[in-house]
């Protein structure tokens, strides 16, 4: 059983890896360029090192005629007639030239990566994820936490990028440079190379071991710290409860305990991290000791030149261990990029369950007749939210829907702009099934005001014109006047150019809802949907909002969902929704005469009128 699960998991990893490689292939021009530059860099680095070594040998020979002859590559040598100074100038000139070339190559490498990765891949991927997110249905949003979704556009995309430069390019350049270094070293002296390399596997495994040991510890540390921060935020948010019941000491003690735990956990890590550095350090110094010992012996014997032999060798070892250290990082990078890629691909692959049909029926302006025909709806299979809902709304009608929490009234409303599709049955607009209409056309016919209205941190004008970005200021003002919010706006110092902060937290509930109303009616929609717009406000504010609603309703089919009798009683017809079924309908006075949920609710909401 467990085996099977592992198999499935590794299959999944394989699939993602292949897809990541395909993604990288799209940017192959950049990748190949990077690898090419890496090879050039390698060559110049080696040459620079070689010439420095040659310089030392050359001076040594000049100083001590008994020293061995400097060995020039490819059987070349300096012209015999050059003076010492000329030769020296030539060698130093070469060394400087190589450093300059290296410098330029490094610059091009970095810029090339930034261009094809940050400006190419990251921008492409972010835009793709974002535009997909914009189109995904509400069902998707219901089952995903928003913080996690945000991360997919920001940090996860960067982790996917890591696969290209932190895994593929890195791995290819490490393989190339390792083989070049090795060949070079071996061509110089095979035994010395083997002696020098003997500790490298040890360094690799120690690094790997420690990074593996430390990772869960760091994760645990971050988790504890997050917990502490969450607790402090809660402490501040609930301060009136804590102070109100005089429980400061008790809560403080709890916080201090978590603080203590953070410290204790950190102390555990400290020992591990502080022995890691020195162990790896000792190992690479051991390397140098071995080379000094054996290489020194060879130099002493005269079978290895000092400069272009021993000193170059030490330089090479240095670079080699750097490469080994970097390769430890690749393993982490693979992990990180696969996890992130999984999350990113999940979004890109998600089906847009709600979209326009291939050949949509186009409507310019609907009349506003809405029909529900035997509509069933469930969020999760088996849990019926709406059952066999049928009714017809004529254009221009004001319809109220009463229901308690969980009766399905908001769901019913959200079927009209196709935020969801019914599980069975159909919703029709002017006789057309909603699923046969162009989605954009449909939504343009419908203005929605939600329970708690989300405003964007843009200007008031931009917020009102949200659905009609090309609206003129006159249109905006007209909508604001209809929604009875124009007065308030003109009292603000910047009027319509006032920027709304933090989704409108500086506005009152009534102001927010009336702005949302203006936003809904600027499109002059034939249908207006009001989803309990006064649920979160007091009765004074409710009145304020309704002055706006009355203006906005005129000439439109309006559906208002509420659990307040006071909001509903002027409706042309009221439907009572209980556990997903319509149990009663009629006008206010008709329903008051019937025995049932409507009357009971009315009585509770108005208890004691008689006893005045």
């Amino acid at each position: 059983m467990l085996m099977k699960k592992n198999d499935a998991e590794s299959g999944e990893r394989q699939r993602i890896t292949i897809r990541l490689i395909k993604l990288s292939w799209k940017y192959k021009a950049g990748c190949f360029k990077t690898i090419f530059i890496q090879i050039l860099l390698l060559v110049t680095a080696l040459s620079g090192l070689k010439f420095t070594g040659l310089g030392i040998d050359f001076i040594r020979k000049n100083y001590d005629p008994k020293a061995p002859e400097p060995v020039w590559p490819f059987g070349l040598s300096l012209p015999q007639n050059w003076s010492f100074l000329e030769s020296l100038l030539f060698i130093t000139g070469l060394a400087i030239a190589f450093s300059l070339i290296q410098y330029l190559l490094n610059y091009y490498d970095k810029m090339n990566r930034a261009r094809f990765l940050q400006k190419g891949l990251v921008v492409d991927l972010r835009s793709a994820v974002f535009s997909k997110l914009q189109r995904l249905s509400f069902r998707f949003y219901d089952s995903n936490e928003s913080a996690a979704l945000i991360n997919r556009v920001t940090s996860d995309v960067q982790s996917v990028r890591l696969f290209v430069d932190g895994v593929i390019i890195q791995a290819v350049s490490i393989i190339i440079s390792l083989s070049v270094y090795l060949t070079y070293m071996i061509s110089m002296n095979i035994r010395l190379s083997l002696a020098g390399l003997s500790t490298l596997p040890l360094i690799f495994f120690t690094s790997y071991y420690f990074s593996k040991r430390l990772k869960p510890e760091y994760q645990e540390g971050r988790k504890l710290m997050d917990e502490l921060i969450m607790k402090v935020i809660e402490f501040i948010n609930g301060i009136h409860v804590i102070k109100g019941f005089a429980r400061e000491d008790y809560e403080l003690k709890k916080l201090k305990n978590v603080n203590e735990a953070v410290k204790k956990q950190k102390y555990n890590i400290f020992f591990l991290t502080s022995i890691f550095g020195p162990i790896v350090g000792s190992l690479s110094q051991l390397n140098i000791a071995i080379i000094l010992l054996y290489g020194g012996y060879l130099v002493a014997k005269g079978s290895l030149p000092l400069g272009s032999g021993l000193i170059v060798f030490i330089g090479l070892m240095h670079r080699l261990s750097e490469q080994i250290n970097a390769s430890v990082g690749i393993i982490d990078n693979i992990q990180q990029s696969i996890v992130a890629a999984n999350r990113v691909f999940e979004i890109i692959d998600s089906d847009e369950t709600i979209k326009s049909p291939k050949k949509p029926i186009r409507i310019n302006r609907a009349k506003g007749c809405i029909t529900f025909r035997n509509v069933y709806f469930e969020y999760n299979p088996g849990e019926k939210i709406l059952e066999d809902i049928s009714f017809e709304i004529k254009h221009g009608q004001f319809v109220g829907i009463l229901g308690s929490v969980g009766s399905g009234k908001s769901t019913l409303l959200s079927l009209i702009p196709r935020f969801y599709d019914p599980s069975m049955g159909a919703v029709l607009l002017d006789g057309y099934d909603l699923r046969s209409l162009s989605l954009e056309d449909l939504r343009r016919q419908v203005g929605v005001v939600f329970q708690e209205s989300f405003l964007f941190s843009k200007t008031i004008a931009d917020n009102i014109a949200f659905g009609k970005p090309d609206a003129t200021i006159e249109e905006i003002q007209k909508a604001a006047k209809l929604a009875a919010v124009d007065n308030f706006i003109s009292q603000l110092p910047d009027k319509y150019d006032t920027i709304i902060k933090e989704s409108g937290s500086d506005l009152s509930g009534g102001q927010r809802q009336r702005l949302a109303l203006a936003r809904a009616i600027i499109l002059d929609p034939p249908i207006l949907l009001l989803d309990d717009p006064t649920a979160a406000v007091d009765s004074q504010t409710e009145k304020e909002i309704f002055t706006g609603i009355e203006g906005a309703m005129r000439g439109r089919t309006t559906i208002l969902v509420s659990n307040r009798i006071s909001s509903l009683k002027n409706a042309d017809i009221i439907y009572v929704l209980q556990k997903g079924r319509i149990t009663q309908h009629g006008t206010h006075s008709e329903l008051l005469k019937q025995k049932g949920f409507y009357r009971k609710t009315a009585e509770i909401q108005e208890t004691g009128i008689e006893d005045i």
């Binding site: 310089g55 000049n62 020296l88 130093t92 060394a95 400087i96 450093s99 290296q102 410098y103 490094n106 810029m111 930034a114 400006k119 974002f130 535009s131 997110l133 914009q134 509400f138 928003s146 913080a147 945000i150 920001t154 997050d226 921060i229 402090v232 501040i236 609930g238 009136h240 019941f245 005089a246 429980r247 008790y250 201090k256 603080n259 400290f270 502080s274 020195p278 000792s282 140098i288 000791a289 010992l293 130099v299 000092l306 021993l310 935020f419 343009r444 929605v448 209205s453 989300f454 964007f456 941190s457 970005p469 979160a536 007091d538 009765s539 004074q540 307040r564 609710t601 108005e606 004691g608």
Partner: protein
């Protein structure tokens, strides 16, 4: 929330110099760990010498035994070399462990101080301070300070020590050659300063453009209903692509600066080595320089150049640390608005509450309460009625001693509240506010918060008294159901009932209720009304009321307007007056 944190301190100023006073204050925090700190200093000085000695030894071995070709000497010196390496690394274990422990200990103490400070601050502080600000003191500022303590001083010391010893050695070998090294020093320093400034600006641009990207994503996701409801998907995606593109441009600018600057330092030392080769080569040729000196210089010069870069980096880190410390200390230095008088006593509260000519304002110059006087006998229910902003909740805030009046007196059982210990009042008080705040944890834990040293049975008993035990037990896990932000979603009515139980457990003499304005679904409403009437019984209760049923039954209604009591009396008396209350009541009725 947990994974999503926008860096919030890039717009806060970074000082350009290091203040000694501040430095001293940070240093004092290491006093409890003086032994650790002092050993650390010794280790650090030791290390700066050790690192250099290692390099010097390599040069020495090459020049000595290897050049002269004596294998016995090579073996001995390499063994000596490796022994010294082991000793150095052994010291380093303690050097890094102690530095980390010292940093963590200091930050631990600071975090503790922040927590204690928070518990001590008064209500006014929390209303005017944003949570994000407090949290960034706790996180980014404390972390900056930690890296300051762990790294800046010690790393700089090691580097500086190495540089110094290297200079002395080079001078000793050949002062003329050393002059060449010295001449390049200022060049490196100037380059470093110039580019670092440009880099800082580039980093800031990247951060700023990134926070625009994230806030755009946040809004688009949180407002997805509106986006789709108004068919803005295409336009939004276009705008977003533009933002991401700009962000990428800033990233490229950073890459450009980095790739010009960082390799430049390496180039510098390569150029130096080439120059060294040239000058030294001529001099060796002329016989005025030993070859061995050239090789030593080859190794030692590195110890002179690389610290310049490292120390410059540390200086920037120090500035960030100091800026963090400054904000942290400013935060800790804020004093609570008031503290209990030393003469304040603990009394057995019966529940009489009096206001005598009380004036109050949150902000100077905008009075919220004007000349408020009233008296409530033990057991009375007082309903506070009036529009938003009329001062209703301010009155309850003053009774709870969350704030002190500007003038006038508030008396409990005839005694000025200034002379009563704050905790004594709060322990005899129950509060339920509009927000019906629940902590992350079980329902049981939330109820038990009402009174210290109470048992689970007490909590269940409290729920029984309110006839709400069945409602709580109907939750998925009953009393053990996890609630709060990470817990199961509760309806407003359910949350309110848990808060009622919490207040009931406290068995208060004074009960404060700020009714929720949102509509509770009507069937739960009945249950709440019932529980409420039990809570209000036999306690002095102050209710900011939205339900007429409570207002009608109140012993005293205070009708508030612009911070004044405009009418007072019970329901019938006020209706007869045909004043503002009667008008408000008619509006209420009309709305029904």
């Amino acid at each position: 929330m947990k994974h999503f944190r926008v860096k919030n301190n890039f717009n806060e100023d970074i000082p350009s110099e290091i203040s000694l006073k501040l430095f001293w204050r940070i240093f004092k925090y290491t006093a409890p760990y003086a032994r650790k700190r002092n050993i650390l200093f010794i280790l650090v000085i030791l290390r700066s010498i050790q690192l250099l000695v290692i390099t010097w030894m390599i040069g020495k071995i090459i020049n000595g035994p290897i050049s002269s070709g004596n294998f016995r000497d090579i073996l001995l010196s390499v063994i000596g070399f490796f022994a010294f390496v082991i000793f150095t690394q052994f010291c380093f274990i303690f050097r890094s462990k102690l530095a980390m422990e010292l940093g963590e200990s200091v930050i631990f103490d600071l975090r503790k101080e922040v927590l204690e400070h928070l518990a001590e601050m008064r209500m006014s502080y929390f209303t005017k301070t944003k949570v994000g600000r407090i949290i960034s003191r706790f996180t980014s500022d404390a972390e900056a300070l930690r890296s300051g303590i762990q790294n800046v001083v010690f790393v700089s010391l090691v580097q500086f020590g190495g540089m110094l010893v290297a200079s002395i050695l080079m001078c000793y070998y050949d002062w003329q050659l050393f002059m060449c090294v010295l001449a390049l020093g200022p060049v490196v320093l100037l380059l470093d300063r110039y580019f670092r400034k440009r880099l800082m600006k580039a980093y800031r641009d990247v951060q700023e453009s990134f926070s625009r990207v994230t806030s755009n994503v946040v809004e688009s996701i949180r407002g997805i209903k509106v986006v789709q409801g108004f068919s803005r998907e295409k336009l939004n995606s276009k705008q977003f692509s533009k933002l991401v593109d700009t962000h990428a441009d800033y990233n490229i600018k950073v890459a450009e600066n980095e790739s010009v600057f960082l390799p430049l330092l390496e180039l510098n030392s390569q150029v130096f080595i080439a120059i060294l080769l040239l000058i030294a080569g001529i001099r060796v040729h002329n016989g005025t320089l030993e070859l061995s000196t050239l090789i030593q210089f080859f190794f030692l010069s590195n110890f002179f150049f690389s610290p310049i870069n490292v120390i410059a980096g540390q200086f920037n880190m120090a500035l960030t640390a100091i800026a963090g410390a400054e904000r942290l200390f400013n935060f800790l230095d804020e004093k609570p608005d008031w503290v209990d008088r030393p003469t304040a006593t603990y009394i057995e509260i019966k529940g009489k509450v009096e206001f005598k000519k009380v004036n109050f304002s949150y902000k100077k110059g905008t009075p919220i309460l004007k000349d408020i006087s009233f008296s409530a006998e033990p057991g009375m229910t007082i309903a506070l009625v009036g529009h938003t902003g009329s001062g209703k909740s301010t009155i309850t805030n003053l009774i709870a001693k969350f704030y002190l009046p500007d003038s006038g007196e508030i008396l409990i059982d005839g005694k000025n509240i200034l002379d009563i210990q704050t905790s004594c009042i709060r322990k005899k008080m129950g509060i339920v506010l509009q927000s019906n705040f629940l902590f992350n944890g079980s329902v049981m834990e939330n109820i038990l918060l009402g009174k210290e040293n109470s048992s689970e049975n007490d909590a269940i008993e409290a729920a029984e008294k309110l006839e709400c035990r069945d409602i709580i037990e109907a939750l998925p896990e009953g009393f053990n159901t996890i609630v709060g932000e990470n817990g199961v979603g509760l309806s407003l009515g359910q949350r309110q009932i848990i808060c009622f139980c919490r207040a009931m457990l406290a068995n208060p003499k004074i009960f404060i209720l700020d009714e929720a304005t949102s509509s509770v679904d009507s069937i739960t409403e009945e249950k709440i009304q019932n529980a409420l009437s039990k809570l209000l019984k036999d306690r002095t209760s102050f209710v900011i009321a939205h339900r007429l049923s409570i207002v009608r039954k109140a012993d005293l209604i205070l009708m508030m307007e612009n911070g004044e009591i405009v009418e007072r009396g019970n329901h019938h008396q006020l209706l007869k007056q045909r004043g503002k209350y009667a008008k408000l009541y008619r509006e209420f009725q009309l709305a029904k």
